[in-house]
């Protein structure tokens, strides 16, 4: 006996699983990127939606992962598989180093600092620091995943790799929500003074959220760079950060279906309306305003009350 949400989830899973079989290559690429962006959006959600930290520089971590894979592969000849771990660890290390000194700042101040980090990151990329980053044009010719001589080079391979990555991300989100760490983030978000009086360290859990979010975004970045065989700075700028930020809020903070819907609305819909090139973003802006007015908590807001069933039995 399944409830409505689980049924929808199952249908979507089936649809997503068979998607590559009935679309053309352009839409397949869109689908793959949707999956990758959804991973990034979820990782942004950990920081913004759960821990409630105002963070508008997330594309930087995404880009760090992508560029790590690109640089290690193109400049140093590493195999793609070997770049996975660095592309997760380097964003995490950066998150720790950059955010730890400013984590105590009040919301809006922290927001601008995160934008600042993102901008500095882009400047580093564009100025071809140490000749590694390839300047404004980026790096191309990124290899594919190769296992025992077999090349996972087709678009369909890319799609399923991204699919698995999203699956892992969703698993992590679920583990997080059901652990003391995920709950601590909510408590901090909803009332940080009450949270502290319960023994929850603001600094520790906000940093935890950042580091975890950076790691997932880094993995997604690595995937992204392999999908397009190239990286360039404009894919990781503040405009992209704003997109991920908006995805979480428009879809529904801390809500699994919400973030997926948000990614669809903010990324796939504009793709669907590509023909209306010029008016596209105008309509988009209006849609953003209207969505917030009509659904201030997002299209599919989070629902609490996810407690073990032996406690629910007593409830009304």
């Amino acid at each position: 006996m399944m409830n409505k949400t689980s049924l929808i989830a199952l249908l979507l899973l089936v649809f997503a699983g068979f998607y590559p079989l009935f679309v053309d290559s352009a839409w397949l690429a869109v689908g793959t990127t949707f999956l990758v962006f959804a991973c990034v959006a979820f990782s942004q959600d950990i920081i913004l939606g759960r821990a409630g930290v105002f963070h508008m520089g997330h594309a930087m971590f995404f880009g760090l992962g992508a560029y790590t894979t690109a640089i290690l592969n193109v400049q140093f000849g590493w195999a793609i598989l070997a770049t996975w771990i660095p592309s997760v660890l380097i964003p995490m290390a950066c998150a720790f180093a950059l955010v730890a000194p400013i984590i105590h700042l009040r919301g809006d101040y922290l927001l601008v600092a995160t934008i600042g980090f993102n901008i500095i990151f882009i400047q580093v990329l564009e100025n071809d620091v140490f000749g590694l980053t390839g300047g404004p044009n980026g790096l191309f010719g990124i290899d594919v995943v190769r296992v025992f001589g077999y090349d996972f080079s087709s678009q369909i391979h890319m799609y399923y790799m991204a699919f698995i990555l999203l699956g892992i991300t969703l698993f992590i989100m679920r583990s997080l929500d059901r652990s003391k760490f995920g709950r601590a983030m909510f408590y901090i978000h909803k009332d940080d003074i009450a949270a502290q009086s319960m023994g929850i360290s603001l600094r520790y859990y906000k940093l935890y959220a950042f580091i975890l979010g950076a790691g997932i975004a880094g993995a997604a970045g690595s995937m992204f760079s392999v999908q397009y065989s190239a990286v360039s700075p404009e894919a990781f700028n503040v405009t992209q950060s704003i997109m991920f930020f908006t995805i979480v809020l428009v879809g529904g903070s801390a809500s699994l279906p919400g973030v997926l819907i948000g990614t669809f609305v903010m990324f796939v819909l504009p793709e669907m309306f590509r023909e209306f090139e010029t008016a596209r973003y105008l309509v988009f802006g209006v849609a953003m305003i209207l969505t917030m007015i009509l659904r201030p908590r997002g299209i599919w807001p989070v629902k609490f009350g996810n407690i073990p069933s032996f406690l629910k039995k007593e409830a009304k």
């Binding site: 997080l176 652990s179 003391k180 760490f181 009086s197 023994g199 009350g305 007593e314 009304k316």
Partner: protein, 260 residues
Amino acid sequence: MSEYLLEIRNVSKLFSGLVAIDNLSMKVKKGQIYGIIGPNGAGKTTLFNCITGIYTPEIGQILWKGRDIKGTSPYKIAGLGILRTFQTIRLFSEMSVAENIMSGRHIKSKQRWYNGIIPTPAYFKDEKHQWTKVGELMEFFNLSSYATTPAGDLSYGIQRRIEMARALAAEPELLILDEPAAGLNENETIELTETIRKIQAMGVTIMMIEHDMEMVMSLSEYITVINFGAKISEGVPSFVQTDPKVVEAYIGSDEEDEDA
């Protein structure tokens, strides 16, 4: 080892020149119910905020089991065994009652950092144990039927119970209650009095700010009276009730309401 769990020694707290607490001293015995009374604005909540690390007093010491904890971060205070409720009730109103109480179990949970990413057998055991404890607390406070209800949807009296359950969930040695009877009717106040006695019977020391005189006098074993941030009287309830200085402080200022 001192029999005094908490000692406030000559503590003063200033806010930009305004003296909120003035050379205050008191000693709380283990297992006691200790009352703090005084007119509104006397500095009682400020004192609690100093104990729980939200403010740092400029002068004096706050000794917990003999060690000075003045200026400790609020989140570390809970780890020491001191838990509190708030004058204005600070619940996580969007979250269910059970999840609210679960926040009290946070410092008791043994989950490791990787459990935020991946569950382990130890994690499953810990989760079950914590939720079981939450269930027991909800039973104790008669909240079981509200387990999944968002805390913000419930009445004031029930919210106060949730806040106490949450504080108790952390297994405190000292429970600090800031006007627990505020906004409660007579029946609820009687229930609250019994609950506080039961908590004391569990071995918890209790410090309480209250305006409901009947309740404070019947529950407290020892009382300190504060006005303008300074101690104007202290002693057992029967003494404090008749101390002319106390009477003057209350009659001299605005008339006290029946139930705060």
